[in-house]
């Protein structure tokens, strides 16, 4: 009944504010090396499936990670979350863990997995999702090279 006492203008303004969802994206880069090799497969199968990515000494990429957080801007600060805080989370969770590392040997979360773009993206999602407490992690996109990337998002959320 409280709503009935506010003016029509006020009511529509409240409704409008309540529905606003903003997506913010921050980009970071890290450089790392990796190789694709499944010890359960023969040398020939590894070569056939993974091609030159199977080179035993590894090779490297400049990865670009885009992290998209969805949420309502705080009415006081106008922010979904403080970008400084997001920057610190990305530095702590991703850059320090993966930048200038050999992903197969130095990133514990990838132990026993082939460090493909898909698997690295999933590891990144699992690292970031619990840390982002203002707004919610909406999507990540990880570029291995400019023409190849993997995305992670929760089904049901708009993937755009």
């Amino acid at each position: 009944m409280e709503g009935a006492r506010v003016s029509g203008w006020h009511l529509s303004r409240i409704e409008q504010v309540a529905q606003i969802m903003v997506y913010l994206t921050r980009r970071i880069e890290f450089s790392a090396s990796h190789l694709y090799h499944n010890p359960a497969l023969s040398a020939e199968e590894n070569k056939r499936i993974f091609g030159k990515c199977n080179n035993p000494h590894g090779h490297g990429h400049n990865y670009t990670l885009e992290v998209t957080v969805a949420g309502e801007p705080d009415p006081v600060t106008g922010m979904v979350l403080d970008l400084k805080e997001l920057k610190e989370i990305l530095e702590r969770e991703i850059t320090q863990r993966m930048d200038h590392r050999f992903l197969n040997y130095e990133v514990a979360e990838l132990n026993g997995q082939i460090p493909t773009c898909e698997n690295i993206a999933r590891v990144i999602w699992n690292l970031l999702e619990p840390k982002i407490t203002q707004g919610r992690l909406h999507k990540i996109r990880l570029y291995e090279v400019p023409d190849l990337f993997a995305e992670c998002y929760r089904n049901g959320a708009h993937a755009g």
């Binding site: 694709y36 460090p115 898909e118 999933r122 996109r141 023409d147 993937a159």
Partner: protein, 141 residues
């Protein structure tokens, strides 16, 4: 957290082609008014970028949704071979009937790729130039 985690793979391809925007359903003046210099009878060309996104289960043995060689081969056969260094109007059957706007190019590419047997096609994005892009996800209104 609701919804299970989806993982998708994106890949970008390129082709160069010419086109002319001209509708048989419009008069010469109307074509000129609607399409402007894109209606130039000799056509013109672009370096197109096609971005496709496929989703699926990550195979634990390979770490991949789909082997890139299979995806690249499919896109090459279904799209790039018939679009690259071609006149879209003259050389691609679909554009004998439909104006090869980038909207229609995007839809045509989606139709050609949606039967990819190894992963689910989620979305096609076509960049006609660095300044304009079109996306189609198979939605019908």
């Amino acid at each position: 957290m609701s919804g299970h985690l989806a993982i998708a793979l994106g890949r970008r391809y390129r082709f160069a082609a010419s086109h002319r925007l001209h509708s048989n359903q419009l008069s010469e003046q109307e074509n000129s008014r609607v399409y402007g210099k894109c209606n130039n009878p000799y056509g013109h060309g672009h370096n197109y970028v096609v971005e496709i996104i496929v989703s699926g289960t990550v195979n634990p043995a390979t770490g991949m949704i789909v082997n890139l060689a299979d995806l690249d081969g499919f896109v090459e056969r279904e799209v790039i071979e018939s679009f690259d260094h071609k006149s879209l109007n003259e050389d691609v059957l679909a554009f004998r009937e439909r104006v090869p706007t980038t909207e229609n190019v995007c839809i045509e590419i989606f139709q050609r790729l949606k039967h990819f047997p190894l992963a689910k096609l989620e979305r096609v994005r076509v960049e006609e130039t660095a300044n304009n892009a079109f996306e189609y996800a198979g939605e019908e209104i």
